[in-house]
Each structure stands twice: as C-alpha cells, then as structure tokens.
Symmetry: C2
C-alpha cells in the first residue's frame, strides 16, 4: 500500500481507486451495521464507511488521534464533499490517551470563553475556529496584495523603542541591558519616516497597548495593518485609498476563502463605490436633531452609542455598512495631526465606522518642520527623545497621511463575533498571558 | 499647469509633452551654461536641464527639498533612463534649511557606521540604501508567495509570553500589569501548536534576543521567517522545502527587483537543484583529514571558521553556495529536537550554510506526548509553565518539522554586507535603541 497521501478535497479525482489519506480522527459515529469515521486534514474532512468487523480493531480510538487511512473512493451524494471511502484500513500515527474537552466536530464549540481560550491550542482545530483564523490570514494577504499593486513597499519597524510615542500612559516597559525601553504602541513615527524613503509604505506587525481595562473590544497585543503615503492633497486621498484597501481585502476573501465565508455564514458588508462621509460637528448636530441625543453637542469625541446610531443612519440613508466621520476636533487628536486649513479647531483626520463601530483611525499628518516645532511646543511634547523623528521633517517631507486597521477588530466586525478574543490567535489581556 | 503628477520611470511615454514630476531634490549640479537638477521619486531619478536664467530662482535651494517640477520631456541618451526635462519650472513643496550630513546621490554613503545609523532616517533615502531595504521587502514577499502556493497558512503569534522558551538566559523581561512577562525569542512553540490546526504554517515577525554581546552578525531584535509543517518523513523533507523556499525567494527577487540587484551589483548565489549535505561527524572528519583542522573532532558544534571551510568545500566540490550540515549532536539542540532513530547521539536537525556562514537552523521535532515528557525530564525542563504547549502533543500531532530564516542575516549574506546593521531598518543592539 505504497500510495502517496492525497488530500480530502482530491477524492473526486480518484473515484474507484485505492487512496491514502492522513489526518486527525475528527469523529467516530458507531451506529452498528454501518459506522462512520470522519478524518480531518488541512483541506477539510472525509467520511470513511466501516462495517462492524472494520470497527473492532479501532476499539478505544479517541478523537484527534493522528491516523493513516487507506480505502477505495466511492461517489456518495450524502457524504461531505460527495465522496467517501470504503474498504478502509486504519493505522495510528500518533495516539491519544485522553478525551478532548470540546467536541471539535461541532461547529460552535460549547464552552465558556475562558475555558475555550485556556485550551485554544486544541480548540482552534474545530472547523469554525479554523475558518476564522484562515480568514484572518486572508485579510493580511488581501491587504498586502492591494498595496503592492499600488507601488507600496513593505517595512518592518522596531518594536523596542527608547520612548513612548503616542502617550506615556499605556506603554509596556522593558528592561533593556540596564536601561528602560518600551514596546511600540504603533509604528506611527517609523512609517512617517519611511515615507521620506519610499513615499508609500505598509507594515503588518504587532503593537502593544498597556491599557489596564478589560473589554470585549480590546486586547493588549494586536496586529496592526499600517499604511502611510506621501504626495496627498489632504485626508480625502487617504480615505480613497482606505476604501480601495477595504474593497481589496473583501475581494480577496471572496476569491480565495469562499469556503470559510460560507462555513461561518458571513454576511458580506455593503461597500458602496464611494463610502459616505459626514463632518464631525454635522454628525453631532444630526445626532441631536434627528436622534434626540442630548449629550453629543460640543463634546470632542463620539461615544460608542453615537457611533452605533451613525452606523444605522449610514445603512438606512446611504445603503452602506461603512461611514467616514471626518474632522475630529484637534484637541482629541495626536500632535502630528494636520489641522483643517479652513478651521483650525478641526483636523484633517477621520474615523471609519464599520457596522456602527470604529474600525480605522487615519488622516493627514503635519509635514513641515516648523509645524512640528510649533505643535510640540503647543502640546508640550519633548523634542529630545524624538530627535531623529523630527530630523526627518527637517530634510523635506511631502504632504502625507495614512491609517491603521486593527486586524482582529476587522475580523471581529466582519464575522460579527461578540468578543475580539475570538478573532485573536492567542489573546493577551490584563488577566491572560497564556497559552 | 494642471498636469497630473507622473513618475520618473514614465517619462518615456510622454516624449514632447509637458509633464509634472514631484519628489526630492536629489542633486543640483551648477556648471554655468548648462545645469542639472536631479529629482528623486519612489520610482527613481530624473534629470532636468536648466539654463543660467532658470537657475537664478533656485538660489539657496538645498538637497532633499520637496519639489514640484513641470517641464517638457526630451529624449537624451546620456540622461539617466534615457529622457530628461527641458523648459523647467520648479516649485517648492517643503523647504529644507540645513545641509544633509551625507551626499545622498553617492551610491555608497561615506560616513562611519555609527554616524550613518544615527541619521538613517535620512540616510536610507540614498539609492543604494533604498535598494537594500527594497530587496528586504522582496525577500518577505518571495517567502510568503512560495509558501502560500504550497498550501501554507500565515499566522501571527503572541510576542508577549509568560515564560522564556528557548533558554532563560537571553530573554527580555516586560512588566505586565504587575506580573513578569517576556518577549518571545521565537515563535517555535506556537508554530508547532498551529501545525495541529493547519498542518502547514508560516510567520513573518519580530523576535527578541537579549544577548549582551555586540558582533557584526547579531542584533537584539530581528525579523524571523518561520515555517513549520506536518506529515513529514524526517528532516530531509524539511530540507527539501527549505530549498524550494530559497529558490522561490531568489526567483522573486530576479523577477521583481532586477533593478535593485543591478544597482547593488549583486552576485546571485549558485543554488543547485538539490543542495549538497554532509553529516555532522563526517564534516568534522573531513575538516581534520582534508583541511588539517585539529580542534574540530569530538566537539558538539562547528566554529565559524569550520563553517567557512565547509562553505569553501561545497563551492569547490559541489558548485554550490549552500551546504546542509545534518545530524548535529543532540546535546547542543533544544529539547524538542527529534533524535536520529538510528543513533540517538545525533539529531534529525540541520544547519544551512550560505557562503560559509550559518543562515538557517531547522529539523524534525518530537511529536509524541510520551517523548515530550521524557525529553522534559531529561533536559530538566519544567512542564508547568508550558502546560498548554505540552497539551498540544497529548491530543495528536503528526511527525513535523520546520525552520527559521533570519531576514536580516539572509539579506546581509546575499548582498555581502559586512555588518548586519546595514541589512536592518533601524537596528537594536546593546548600545542602540534609536532611531
């Protein structure tokens, strides 16, 4: 029986032939006269039909045992994929001695979230979990493909930094050869620096936020999909690129991951040719006038409930699951944000709401050295620790901007998961550092 | 003059037309009657010809000024790219007030390494530096493309971990909400865990090594290209995949980055259909017998000088810039290494030498739970902190193996750079945390 291994998805090419499959014992259904062994490999599952005599040698076989199965391929409309194996012999490659905590063949694992996360090393083998993580890899691939096609260069910037960049509050400290270092909260400064080198850059990498609260929408380490590019007119060029990137990602998923989208019953979002946008004070006025919201006007930011209402409005009025809110007040934006030239209270920045929740923050940045000096002074931001960052602007930077998409946040909202931890491979939060 | 911006590489499509370029003032050569302004954009450079009257308004213009240039395209065999701009008007987008430290138009920056690194935010704009970093992005893209085509799934594993994995000595500590955490020295455990989910996985991400020495070949944070896959026979399957990956990367560079390879005058390595291999004790015997090396026999590892001699031998005897050394003694390999079933003193692992220097370490791993318990006992490795890692093997893991390529090491050796810091965007070492 020296057959080469084939994959479960290839059975249809071998009808009537003897083939070899290798994988995990996904399920064993003992019904008496006819019994079903389901094998799982990286491509999917296959059903093997066993008579009572075939079953005897498998006594005590536990799920997740790694097995080598040889059998004959038979067409069977009722089998998963339309084919099954008959006249089967099974050999054990790696035995299992304990029962798994979860029934992995069930599409939704019935366990509490902490129990699932504690045992995710095995739990992720369930087809629905695998589909979530596969789609996550597809989002990264679609992101990169869209940007490479537009002449963007991939960079990998340092995660160990000498100073907290965005804000001193939520940064993790590292002991670095007797000195203090920090984990990068974002590649913001580095991606701007690299606009000076390549004009157009992107990065896919981890970022670290030491926020000590525990919510369903935050983890302390996540994957950031970062973009920055030069020679823009203003933030509307950034919004246009972001729209193309979202379209590119969704297109990539539909082209390469249709099976996973189907398995998870994903409702693909409505993305119009051009995503509607609303200016920040106008959004507040509308919340007040149309939705009777009394606590929005004059505030420098939107509350989650406001975002939810605006998302509803975009869906109803513009048939869009996405909405840009532009021009957030300068007081709530980081010092490198470019002000609106027409009204310096507001910024050339935006949030992208996806199904009523913030998904992306982006905008135009300052690009003139003198503006950086002025902003650092106004924000009381120290120049010395960021000397090399400011040096970049001293030597010529074009008008530029960019954005950052949280990978896990995107997957969570696309799949309507109710906790970001379910969109994260092995989440890190204030209580959790393992697995 | 409402022309859309075009790129320097597109000049040939607009001969005789007025066009707009935007970019950096790369060089200004004042010769009197005929003067040359060289503009640099993300695509390359373009020469603009100025008469004495055109030059006057540019008085005081410094290199790296961001400019907007309108002019008429003329064929000119002697110009870079074969075209240049005449009848030029120049507008300043972002001014520069200081002279740069480096002459960026020179292909090799004449500065000491520390000075260059201190000012790399601007230094990386030099065409040769840009080419190095562009090739680095190409290595990542070629790596991913080769693996995706072979059904590998991309993962992003946590960089904050609860325990040091590889060895306690060279790990960075992080203060994590009042607890101790560490920066991941490699994704080794996680990529093995994920073989249980996807069979075949890869990751491109940062790893952190707190090694307190400063050499030309080590930095403390680098990008690791990690691979792990299941259902292998032994480490020779891993070596075969690694050979395909190297071939895929080199092919990608030749296809997509020919200009950078040419600019840097890169001699592409000789990669035979099958990379030669030599078993560890046989390599030591040969070093002794053929090269008169007296201190190799019986040692558990190869010294850099030994690797250099073996690289020379592979080049002379096998016309190969690559050589596998297989079967390193178990005593020098991590506890999860699979022993050679025929002789347990040696391992089913390998190093890949590239031009006489170690580039990759890889091999087959243990896959049976009982073998992990036994290895942990023998190596005195604690079970408790890695409970979830060991849990993976309890629930069925196929024979598997993998490898890790250091991105910067690969680029350094491919380009024959004499310091790994020159293959790193912003290097981190015992003395350096900025830029």
């Amino acid at each position: 029986m020296e057959h080469q291994r084939i994959l479960t998805r290839e059975l249809g090419q071998h009808v009537g032939q003897q083939v070899r499959l290798k994988g995990w014992l996904h399920r064993l259904r003992k019904l008496g006269e006819v019994n079903f062994l389901v094998l799982r490999d990286r491509a999917g599952i296959a059903q093997c039909v066993l008579g009572p005599a075939d079953l005897a040698p498998l006594h005590g076989l536990l799920v997740e045992t790694v097995i080598d199965v040889v059998g004959t391929v038979v067409e069977a409309a009722q089998a998963p994929g339309g084919f099954e194996l008959h006249q089967v012999t099974v050999e054990v490659i790696s035995p299992v001695h304990d029962a798994t905590l979860f029934a992995l063949y069930k599409n939704t694992i019935r366990a509490t979230l902490p129990t699932f996360l504690d045992h995710a090393v095995v739990g992720h083998r369930a087809p629905d979990r695998r589909a979530v993580l596969k789609l996550s890899s597809g989002v990264m691939a679609g992101f990169r493909e869209t940007l490479r096609a537009r002449d963007f260069t991939e960079i990998q910037t340092p995660k160990l930094v000498a100073s907290a960049t965005e804000s001193g509050a939520n940064v993790f400290g590292v002991e670095y050869f007797g000195r203090n270092a920090y984990l990068a909260q974002s590649p913001q400064f580095y991606k701007q620096i690299m606009v000076g080198v390549f004009e157009r850059v992107f990065e896919v990498g981890p970022v670290f936020r030491a926020e000590p609260h525990s919510t369903t929408r935050h983890v302390n380490e996540y994957v950031s999909l970062d973009v920055e590019f030069g020679f823009i007119r203003d933030h509307f060029d950034v919004m246009a690129l972001l729209t193309e990137v979202i379209r590119g990602i969704l297109g990539y998923l539909q082209q390469h991951h249709a099976a996973e989208l189907k398995l998870l019953d994903v409702e693909m979002p409505i993305l119009p040719d051009s995503i509607p946008w609303i200016h920040f004070p106008k959004a507040q006025q509308m919340l007040h006038d149309q939705f009777g919201v009394t606590d929005a006007l004059g505030e420098p930011d939107l509350a989650p409930e406001h975002e939810r209402l605006l998302g509803q409005w975009a869906k109803n009025e513009h048939k869009s699951d996405f909405l840009f809110v532009t021009g957030y007040p300068m007081v709530k934006r980081p010092f490198y944000t470019h002000p609106d030239p027409a009204d310096a209270r507001y910024s050339n920045s935006f949030d992208l709401l996806f199904r009523g929740t913030e998904l992306v923050t982006g905008g135009q940045r300052l690009h003139l050295y003198k503006d950086y000096l002025e902003a650092a002074r106004r924000f009381n931001y120290p120049l010395e620790p960021f000397e090399t960052y400011f040096e970049t602007f001293k030597f010529g930077m074009p008008p530029h901007g960019g954005f950052a998409i949280g990978l896990e946040r995107f997957v969570m909202q696309l799949l309507c998961l109710d906790n970001i931890r379910l969109a994260t491979l092995f989440p890190r939060d204030i209580h959790r550092l393992t697995p």
